[in-house]
């Protein structure tokens, strides 16, 4: 998993509560990404970061915010979780080649009840 860890790996939370997911990498990669995976939709980009404090929105950013205060950590926050945010969330980093391939963490399964 390219030195990427995600925490927690599983979480059940109630509608309306805030939730923060953490992605941690050990290899000093500049680019980091958050995706959600849902049946029939493949992977959809939520937000990404191209450096400390530098982030941009993806395809499905509504209801999510991110922060990156250190190179190694990229946090995804659901300010007020909704049932539609029940999903599997993956973090990825861009590899060191110039060819843009990404490498993924093991994922976090989030259930909002």
């Amino acid at each position: 998993d390219a030195g990427i860890t995600q925490s927690p790996r599983h979480k059940v939370t109630e509608t309306g509560t805030p939730v923060t997911l953490r992605c941690h990498q050990t290899e000093n990669h500049r680019y980091m990404y958050w995706y959600r995976q849902d049946p029939g939709h493949g992977l959809r980009l939520i937000h990404y970061s191209y450096g400390v404090k530098d982030t941009d929105k993806g395809e499905v950013s509504d209801g999510y915010s991110v922060s990156r205060s250190k190179t190694e950590d990229f946090l995804l926050t659901l300010e007020s979780a909704t049932s539609s945010q029940t999903s599997v969330y993956f973090c990825a980093i861009r590899g060191t080649s110039n060819h843009y391939e990404q490498y993924f963490g093991p994922g976090t399964r989030l259930t909002v009840t």
């Binding site: 990404y33 029939g40 992977l43 959809r44 980009l45 993956f90 093991p106």
Partner: protein
């Protein structure tokens, strides 16, 4: 905008037979194309990429992919399928700093 399409939700292949998982792309400019595999309860694993050069790209686990510019396709292939190849496969294309994924094709290899 760049995009890829995987026309088959599921592909069934008998063990030992050749397999093909289809992908077509739509890009402006030269495409950077990728294939990923996802085994149950795991993250995506990078299989191979096409950037430029030889149209037949070899990757991990005996997979290869054929880039066809005239047909705007990038099909994933393997000469002899294994039961352990059963998984979810994603085609993807670079879009500036991002990668856009297809919806995935579930491959079932039948013993």
């Amino acid at each position: 905008a760049q995009s890829v399409a995987q026309p088959e939700d599921q592909v069934n292949v008998a063990e030992g037979n050749p397999l093909t998982v289809k992908c077509t792309y739509s890009v402006s400019g030269n495409p950077y194309l990728f294939w990923y595999v996802q085994y149950p309860n795991r993250g995506l694993q990078f299989l191979l990429k096409y950037i430029t050069g030889d149209n037949l790209v070899k990757g991990s686990y005996g997979f290869e992919a054929e880039f066809n510019k005239s047909q705007t396709s990038f099909h994933l292939k393997k000469p002899s399928a294994l039961v352990s190849d059963s998984a979810l496969y994603f085609c993807a294309v670079r879009d500036r700093d991002k990668i856009i994924f297809g919806k995935g094709t579930r491959l079932h290899i039948l013993p």
